[in-house]
Symmetry: C2
Subunit: 601 residues, 2 copies
Amino acid sequence: MASEYVSLQNIKFLLHDVHRVEDLMQYPLYADYDGDSIDMIIDTLKELADEYLFPYLEECDRFEVQYENGKVKVHPQILKVMQMMGENGWIGAPYPVEVGGMQLPHMVAILNEYIFAAANNNLNGYPSLTMGAAGLIISFGNEELIETYLEKMLTGKWQGTMALTEPQAGSSLSDITTIAVPTYAGHYQIKGTKTFISAGDYEGIENVVHLTLAKIEGAPAGAKGISLFVVPKSRVGADGKLQPNGVATAGIFHKLGQRGYVTTQLALGDDDNCHGYLVGEPHHGLAYMFQMMNASRISVGSHGAGIASAAYHASLEFARERTQGRRWNDRDLTLPQTEIVNHPDIRRMLFMQKAIAEGGLSLVLQCTRYEDLHAVSDGEEKEKYYLLLELLTPLVKTFPADAGIQSVSHGLQVLGGSGFCEDYPLEQYYRDIRIMSIYEGTTGMQSLDLLGRKVQLNKGLAFKLFLGEMQQTMAEAADMPELQKYAGQLKSEVEKLVGVTKHLGKIAATGDIELFLADATPYQQMFSLVAIAWQWLKQGITANKVLQAQEKQGDDLKFYQSKLHTLKFFYVYELPKTEALAAAITSGENLTVLKDDDLLI
Amino acid sequence: MASEYVSLQNIKFLLHDVHRVEDLMQYPLYADYDGDSIDMIIDTLKELADEYLFPYLEECDRFEVQYENGKVKVHPQILKVMQMMGENGWIGAPYPVEVGGMQLPHMVAILNEYIFAAANNNLNGYPSLTMGAAGLIISFGNEELIETYLEKMLTGKWQGTMALTEPQAGSSLSDITTIAVPTYAGHYQIKGTKTFISAGDYEGIENVVHLTLAKIEGAPAGAKGISLFVVPKSRVGADGKLQPNGVATAGIFHKLGQRGYVTTQLALGDDDNCHGYLVGEPHHGLAYMFQMMNASRISVGSHGAGIASAAYHASLEFARERTQGRRWNDRDLTLPQTEIVNHPDIRRMLFMQKAIAEGGLSLVLQCTRYEDLHAVSDGEEKEKYYLLLELLTPLVKTFPADAGIQSVSHGLQVLGGSGFCEDYPLEQYYRDIRIMSIYEGTTGMQSLDLLGRKVQLNKGLAFKLFLGEMQQTMAEAADMPELQKYAGQLKSEVEKLVGVTKHLGKIAATGDIELFLADATPYQQMFSLVAIAWQWLKQGITANKVLQAQEKQGDDLKFYQSKLHTLKFFYVYELPKTEALAAAITSGENLTVLKDDDLLI
């Protein structure tokens, strides 16, 4: 078992020095916090993760969720985590104090997600989903819903979920068929099947509150006819007591990873007695749900970055202990073998892991910073941060997932045969992280969102603002002799991205949308590499300032030197991958759009 | 469950049309075979795989190998497969008729490995290892060893293994410490620990024959002191009966994948009564073992290509059945949803899978063709094929493994959430194939072998011969209007590879071997992409000839069109990846060689 999974020094460097969380404290919304109190919160989160989550990582996997006679049995630690999270207020971390939240900056709240996912990604989803579901009720629920559900959820007594997917409708939510029939009593009768519902049911939890998409009888076709309902497993009866609400768990899924995190299939209203309570206005459900989906997308990114971090620390620890072979310039066989961390190929894999994990977390904090600035600003400023966040959301969801999978795979490879065995956590991380490219919209869907919607948002204003943000970073780096070269490299990469974007814009202008979007994923990959290069340049600027100030020594010095070295690594080994992506996108060969025959044989 | 795992049409196309197995029939060694008899063999292999292997894929995984009180319990199908393989002569497929083999061309014998691994990679390793171990006895064993072991192994009654790795010595075999003490009786007393031994022990098998590396007492240090021994689990006593030979199974490994393929740790001679029988001359063990290792490396490549093929067929089948969303140019929501195989992003992933799986198999057949030509030729010709095979072995081991992992990951992604669940085989393929980058020398070790040894073999003659082979293919393609463009692209890629090789040669000339080899893996990746592009051009030439002849219709026509389309896909989406690799290798930044501090934090 590895002994570490995140670096608090790195978290604090990114939060305070690179992404300047202190900027937010000047606004009344976050005025109750300061740098010290935030550090205390981070330290507490790490202690809680050390105690409640990390020790159970392997157990949660081995003690796979069980399903028998409609009941779901999970690891007992899940209930303890829900209770701890509820009692400590973490489920309401980003929400206003007046509804029972902590009113924490999103930048800090997301670190809860990150640290907990790094510690044990089989446990952190339960409170995380409850937080998101509660958020929908806070934002769009009426007083009765808030009264009935909120406190129970924020205290971790009731689980929250998002119930969107149906067997025939996953990526294409327009095609859901769960039906909601209004009743004179004010509630709706819900009937349908929901699948792939995370945390959808488990023994020991008092209640499960499903934030459910359904169509009201007679609603318009497609996304415009989708409404949002609260559909609890048990409803509160007239006597104030809980009674069954026609939500049956039809089965669970056995999965590659996250075996301790239950994924259910739910049958709603098989007994024609399943009450649903409308959230907000009819037919606006998908728009409401996007609040939770967008938050969840950033969460998934933070989970990917978290698992990648845990894998990095585990493989670094192994590489420092395991000896094998000798360095090539000194191959005296009578010498003892060297630690494998000294071999260039191992170092290449470790730096790649570090570049992905820390670059990914930096982008997560960049996005949540925009979220916070959006919350505290007005007018044009507010719009600016909204657009930047919208543009970066598909990237922050996708890069830490996709690159994270590669990164964990490198981590497994560092361990050689041991990486393939259950004696070390790498094989579990490898299984667990794989879902991150699928959750909350697959990589393909995120890429369509990026190219088909976000890049064109407000006539391309979002994209322009993003270029402006990068421009600012490049200008600062260009003034530093140590970073000039990398600022220049990023500049050409940005130009390449702009060129490819224009190329695609011309295709869009022809009206052939299928061709325009055909290479959305390579485009997203290219965009992501540029965005992460930007984040590394930001980190480099901060680290370089510290190094130039010559105030640090020893291990502290090493931390900043390591940052600069990893920046270089990313620019040498990862960033140039844009070349092949751009070549494919602009090839004009049009090889993936279906013509007469699918040509797959 | 998917219904297909390989394409017989593709196998026969590659074997007959692209790699012209018929060329071999003119030589006495293979004169007993002709095209028809080889097709019958292929068809039989597929039928055997359909009956004995494929139906047990999931079971072998779920019924994980068990270890209790020194005994190993495996799925009963393993014994049936060993028996079937033995009875049908497959374990001796590539060996001479006079020792009980089938004297099959390696090109055909490897298809046994490929088809069986595609059908069920948890089962095929048992006979495959036995074949390799028997091969060592045939090549280097004395009459007594042949007499005692060969028939039992070739008939599948006794399992064979390779016992190299020790807890302290995996990649660095020089550091093994298993000791062999000569006795007056002629055998050696063996003592040591061997780990990660595949198929090392299981209930129901009569005997297990470990081809074991050990050092004879007083042997020189390092690889020059390694000898090869037959160390059976049970030795044949004076009475001709089997008796225990001091080989204890100390434990098994629980693994990410191949859970039905047992991996053991063996304690040899804890009772000071473990007989080992020397194979060949003392201190030549590692050289002998390289025969089995090289064969195993090609096998591993074929297994990687096989699993990638199975995953491709499973995800293609899913994509043809699953409907979701609508095509972008026709988004009428009242229309039924379209099959996802019609979406460009899904098609991109499927073509990538096909390009990797079929490109990988083509390289496997190229290598085994060299092996066969080496076997039937003399003098300079023989040396030529030896050098080509040596050069390509690290590639054929690595590419189908590494790119195969990516390819299976794409396959899993095609299925979305279902890909993550045990209801479909993708998640198992994803786990199973991961070991291929570790078996028989990790990717890092193969890359060191390629750059540090093979490229320089005979003063670079191997590399020159390889360039000549590609030159021949490019010249042929350049004469075809349909392929000119790709011949030109490959030409620039080859020039780039030569340039990078020269760049590295200059570093080698400085004597800084660590720096020279630091980027061996990116170099190998670049080299592999070029080699696979060459294989696709070869396939393209053959397919194009058929299309130009205008003799095929319908599905047959589609097969060849699909080949050309996939060639283009590889050249547009995969081959340009060399650019980033070349940039990293020639960057001159020297970021992975350890200096004073490891800078990993």
